[in-house]
């Protein structure tokens, strides 16, 4: 991502963000509500247009990127409750469907990936239940299972722990550790590091202001994060260093 800006109704939501994520990194994107974390993730995925700048995924400009089976995405909002019932299994399995699988029938590996993902988030026993009978936290776990079922090597998770209990957060952290150790690249948007603090190899702190969106980009040292988290509340503190460009 190079000098990326996203503007909504004339207001700059993501401002001059330049970053690159190396394979195998575990990046936590932090910041308060409205700091542009979700918009940044959407911009990375090409879901919102840039007012200027450029985004590439795995070296390919996002508009030309086709290897979407390498990306697993957990959106911040829960899936919209449509009027037709959907089982938990159907929602997780739908991660397997894309233009690449258009001309083939469901295979054994699709079933295996769906089953493994449901076991991973502890919802195997709820697989036949209607999605809308699950609690908000459980529905978020369904979304996580959905991303896992893709088998992607890059996971983008937008506040996956919002609304889920401490035990499930710990379970998610264990899952993420296994994925990271298996070489997956993980971008995680969160309000606080919590149970993933020791997994994180890099932290990016976002805030709104006149000096670009990135307030901090570096190792997740608590004192640094605390400093940059507080920075935008105090105008008399010097602006942060320029955003780091990490070559991936």
């Amino acid at each position: 991502m190079s000098r990326a800006c996203v503007t909504f109704d004339g207001e700059c939501v993501v401002d001059e963000v330049t970053l690159a994520v190396a394979p195998g990194e575990f990046v936590a994107v932090l910041g308060e509500n409205g700091s542009g974390k979700t918009t940044l993730m959407q911009a990375l995925l090409g879901l919102v247009p840039l007012s200027h700048g450029a985004v590439s995924i795995h070296g390919t400009p996002v508009a030309q990127f086709r290897d979407w089976d390498r990306i697993g995405y957990v959106p911040q909002r829960l899936l919209s409750a449509g009027a037709v019932p959907m089982s938990v299994h159907e929602v997780v399995e739908s991660a397997r469907w894309s233009p690449r699988t258009r001309w083939r029938l469901r295979r054994k590996e699709d079933r295996a990936a769906t089953s493994a993902a449901l076991h991973e988030v502890g919802l195997w026993d709820r697989r036949d239940d209607r999605l809308d009978t699950l609690s908000g936290g459980q529905q978020r776990r369904v979304l996580i299972a959905r991303a896992l079922a893709t088998g992607a090597d890059t996971l983008i998770l937008d506040e996956p722990t919002a609304g889920i209990d401490a035990e499930s957060q710990t379970r998610l952290a264990t899952t993420l550790r296994r994925l990271r150790d298996g070489g997956r690249t993980i971008l995680l948007v969160t309000h606080e590091l919590g149970p993933v603090a020791d997994l994180t190899t890099r932290a990016i702190v976002l805030a709104r202001g006149e000096h670009g969106s990135v307030r901090y980009d570096g190792p997740p040292r608590q004192e640094e994060l605390a400093h940059h988290h507080a920075w935008h509340h105090s105008e008399d503190i010097a602006p942060p260093p320029a955003p780091t460009l990490l070559e991936g």
Partner: protein
Amino acid sequence: MSLLSYDFMQRALIAAALIGLIAPLIGVFLVQRRLALLGDGMGHVALAGVGIAFLVGTAPVPTALAAAALGAVVIELIRARSRTAGDLALALIFYGGIAGGVLFTSLAGGKSSTALNQYLFGSLSTVAASDIGWLVVVSLIVLVVLAVFGREIFVMALDPDVARTQGIRTTAMSMLLTVLAAFTVVIGMRTVGLLLVSAIMIVPIAASQQLTRGFRTTAVIGVVVGELSAVLGLVSSYYLDAPPGPTIVFLALGLFAVCALIAVPVRRRRAPAIAAVAAVPHGGRQVTAP
């Protein structure tokens, strides 16, 4: 059965069986996307096609098919470009369609006005032998397209943003669904009629979703309800000497009521089971002592 000895009745039954199969398969996606009334609008647009056919003397089915498909593309382009003005633009297209249909039919003169009534509410005798070929081909097209693209349309209906991160072209899938809905309207216009064809897409799904927990099951039971409504409704209209559209829709509504009654004990039985699973730690995975 004596009614099967009539050629027109055989043709009408084939047409009814086709719409009973196809309409719920499209309706399940429309209901999921909260576009239940889209079929109504497409019916209005198809009516303009029927009116044009009367005016210029072409066959109504292909002309209505072309008008509905064109309308579907325009509607999707408007919906994609403007969310707020889109609603207004859709209303203008729908009203324009029904006004055009009636106006063109009046200008055509002759028996066209009587024939228009048959397209509005369906008719046992209007399914011509030449129509059956069209209806079978269009139905096959809808089935093949659904078999190939149905899973992607499902993901798009689930969440368009997530669908895009799976490489799915959501605008194209949305347009495809609307065009399929337009085709379905044309398949149903001979038997159910353009004013009521939307009901056979929606009511069977409204009925089945009360009993089901999954999307696929909802579609399958919807097809069963759709077939029962279409075929039995058509037979009823023969004996009642009434247009088939209203009898088919009344039967579908009756099946909806039956499903609603059956759903009450089914839900009661499921509720304690779900509560029991939810009470187990880890959201449902049984934990046994070592």
